[in-house]
Amino acid sequence: MNTTMQPAQPNPIGEIQSGKHARQLQRSRRFKQNVPLLLMFLPVIIFYATFKYAPILGNVIAFKDYNFFDGIFGSPWVGLHNFELLFSQTQTVGIIRNTLLLSILQLIFGFPAPILLAILLNEARKMIFKRAVQTIVYLPHFFNWVIIGGIVLTIFSMESGFINHWIEKWTGEPYPFLYKAFSWIAIFISSGIWKEMGFGTIIYLAVITMINPSLYESASMDGANKFRQIWHITLPGIRPTIIILFILATGNIMEVGFDQVFMMQNPVVSNISEVISTYIYRVGLKGSQFSLSAAMGLFEALVGLVLVLSANWLARKFDQGLF
């Protein structure tokens, strides 16, 4: 900070007064402009207060023994009892482990997929072909998990799926894809890749087009083949994007989408497929243990917040921070 102040310019008195007046005028003009804006904004404030902040405060039921008669405010406080109960159950540890396992696998296999596909698409020189492939691979993004779950259950079903029909022909008996831990996880992860791989390329393709084409020309003059060009030009060109998207993805590691698990889950594999969101649904909403499941939800949200903030802190180190 510069501590030595510039000496104020001696102002004629009239100018000071007019400046004061102008400020007042400006202030009242600003107020007049703000009245319609505030009126417009009022419903927005009500929305955020009711459906975002009231539920955030409603998380206090995690520290209470909630019941319908006494409501959120009347129910008795129980301190950390719900958390103690939650973490004394062996099931809880398993659920958190499943959540982490599935989302880390999603990250490891799902994250590089759009990068690879974007590089391949970028090297496709026939525009019609490239457009056609793009149109096809973007499509699954728009389907919800009911559609994809329905497709997966049909294709891999024991009795009638066509894959098991072939397997039965070769080995004599069908393979229970959806009832074995390993194959269930593999199907879970690959269906996620199937849905989002194509759509994920959009952002990488946009960044690749911003790479200066003369770099490729001169590399090619120098005798660099396609692999070397990709390795030394394309990949470094999209590296900042890769870093920022990777950091954002690690921030979401506590979240495994409810819909996907809910559609593919079955009782046989519940010991590896039950995740935090499905637990909250089953125990909280179906089992009416509101306080216990709210404690789980609060735990998830807090860890998620810490992860996002530290991911952003990391991103800042790369000059890519979001906020």
Partner: protein, 291 residues
């Protein structure tokens, strides 16, 4: 420029891999479509892959007669259309004031909104709020809690901020109030962005699943997602068809009727897909550059 031998190999491999990936994306859909159009004997013997065997529309017939799929389709349409209108209205009401530099406390309001993106309230407390407002079993339970997507709001806000100032100043000097400036100048200049965000919301409402599962208990209010989910996961989908007549439906199998249910969700998406693709690609890029 002549391609070297290595590059020729590279291109050949590249086109092959891309073709395989595209086919992998397409195959499950074609397979399901084929199943929904095949007759039961072909399905039972596992002959159906990408082309229907023994053409039969009976699965769709049974779906229309035996389930409430038309009602669910209508419900999905209502949820989507009303939802998009409400969401766009509120998102505009949020984004416009926040994009004005002279708006009081715009920084703090924006911060409070962004915070809700980082720290979700959770399923249970949100459910209790919705329940205490008496919204269970009404579509307001689907519309209100997600009325504004903060992400979409930020996209709209930064779009408004980047519109040229001159026109707005001129209008202000001519005596236009805030609402007139918004309606006559800002919104007409933002039509492509508004279309993009409407489609974002539209896809979100059309695909709504978890909220319907949580908030809607009456089965005649289900949307397509939940109706089809219950069919797909049912062990006894044939028995659940109302007006169940064994001889009527001997030519359909659980797979064909489940596939037909999935197709009823896929087909409307395919019909609007040209618009979706065009505007979503734009939207992803707007959102990623200025978010």
């Amino acid at each position: 420029m002549k391609a070297s031998y290595g590059d020729k190999v590279f291109y050949a491999v590249n086109y092959t891999v891309l073709t395989i990936i595209a086919l992998t994306c397409l195959f499950p859909l074609v397979h399901i479509a084929a199943l929904s159009l095949s007759d039961s004997s072909a399905i039972m013997s596992g002959l159906v892959t990408i082309w229907p065997k023994g053409w039969s529309l009976e699965a769709y017939g049974a779906l229309l007669q035996g389930t409430n799929i038309l009602g669910a389709f209508k419900n999905s349409l209502i949820i989507t259309l009303v939802g998009v209108v409400l969401s766009m209205l509120l998102t505009t009401l949020a984004a416009y004031p926040l994009s004005r530099k002279y708006f009081y406390a715009r920084k703090s309001f924006t911060l409070l909104m962004v915070f809700t993106m980082l720290f979700g309230a959770g399923m249970i407390p949100t459910y209790l709020v919705v329940k205490s407002l008496g919204l269970i079993d009404t579509y307001f339970a689907l519309w209100l809690p997600g009325l504004i997507s903060t992400y979409n709001m930020l996209v709209m806000k930064s779009f408004f901020e980047n519109l040229p100032e001159e026109l707005q100043e001129a209008a202000r000097i001519d005596g236009c109030g805030e609402i007139k400036i918004l309606a006559r100048i800002i919104l007409p200049l933002s039509l492509p962005m508004l279309a993009t965000l409407s489609l974002f919301y539209g896809v979100q409402y059309w695909n709504a699943f978890m909220n319907v599962l949580i908030y809607i208990n009456e089965s005649d209010k289900y949307n397509l997602s939940v109706l089809v989910q219950q069919m797909v996961q049912s062990q006894s989908v044939m028995q659940e068809l109302s007006d169940f007549q064994p001889e009527d439906i001997q030519n359909i199998t659980p797979q064909s009727i489940k596939s037909a249910g999935v197709m009823v969700m896929v087909i409307p998406m395919l019909l609007v897909y040209p618009f979706l693709q065009k505007y979503f690609v734009k939207g992803v890029l707007i959102g990623s550059i200025k978010g």
